[in-house]
């Protein structure tokens, strides 16, 4: 019993340390329409939490992440497109806030890497086969 109480205390303190207010209405509540919820969830998984910087807002318990989840769900419910919300957030926090890679020039090597590696592999294979055939 005592152990359980201690465990509860451990859980309760960090939550209370953030803010006294209850979470925003749609922070932890799914949208009624499954298709909309799917859209909102997909977006939330690729938006980075500002408080816990290595988590998406879908994974984070930070109160600000909860507020962002609620805002995203409400905006999707109002008919806004997920990509429009992403653009809106990037205009405020920069590319940093989105986990989705963009087509910015700095990422061109990333997109080119699979093609370059594939081409290298084909070249290697061709030279090997040629050598085998000769010997």
């Amino acid at each position: 019993m005592k152990l359980i109480l201690i465990l509860f205390a451990l859980i309760a303190t960090p939550l209370a340390a953030q803010t006294a207010l209850p979470p925003a209405p749609y922070a932890d509540q799914q949208l009624a329409d499954p298709a909309m919820e799917r859209k909102a969830k997909a977006l939330m998984e690729t938006i980075r939490c500002l408080t816990c910087q290595s988590q998406s807002i879908a994974d984070s318990n930070a109160s600000m992440a909860g507020d962002m989840r609620s805002q995203i769900r409400e905006r999707i419910m109002a008919g806004e497109q997920p990509e429009a919300i992403r653009v809106w957030l990037i205009a405020r926090y920069g590319d940093w806030v989105s986990y989705e890679p963009t087509a910015a020039p700095i990422l061109w090597p990333l997109w080119a890497a699979p093609l370059v590696l594939l081409a290298l592999g084909v070249l290697l294979l061709r030279s090997r086969i040629k050598r085998k055939a000769r010997s």
Binding site: A17, Q18, T19, A20, L21, A24, L50, T51, Q53, S63, M64, D67, M68, S70, Q71, L89, I90, A91, R92, Y93, G94, W96, V97
Partner: protein, 175 residues
Amino acid sequence: MRKLLIWLPLALFLGFIALFSSGLFQPDDRIIHSRLVGQPLPAFTLPAAASDRPPLASSQLASGQPRLLNIFASWCVPCAAEAPQLDALKAAGVQIDAIAIRDARPDVDAFLKRNGNPYARIGLDARSEVQIALGSSGVPETFVIDGKGRIAYQHVGEIRADDVPMILDRLRAAQ
């Protein structure tokens, strides 16, 4: 050619070592600055957060004079730590308005009673909506707003005693 190629893995390895060790000595900057610096404030209208201060709307911040917009919360410890610096800024004649994030009026009242109240107006942003619209990533933060209502500067984190002259300079520059 073949002879040189033998050294390629070693060269790559040394390259990575150099990259990683240079990363060890670079200070880790995790501050996310708002991209709205230099742009007009997003429009907002907020209800009053404290019993004895009027509410805040974005239109009131384009007053012809540069001013400060402080983002704080009663539950935020560093916000209490920056209170003396805000008092010093107010004593220097600076207009300071505030937005209280995820807060409730009794809590804000108690916070202001404890730490002093340098604010002219305080808006209540109960669901961080204006905070997100501002591109602010936490509390406390302080925005310098120029006379036309544009964001001239964003200070992330609490204002320390040695930041006060810099903030005053920023206000002067926003004139």
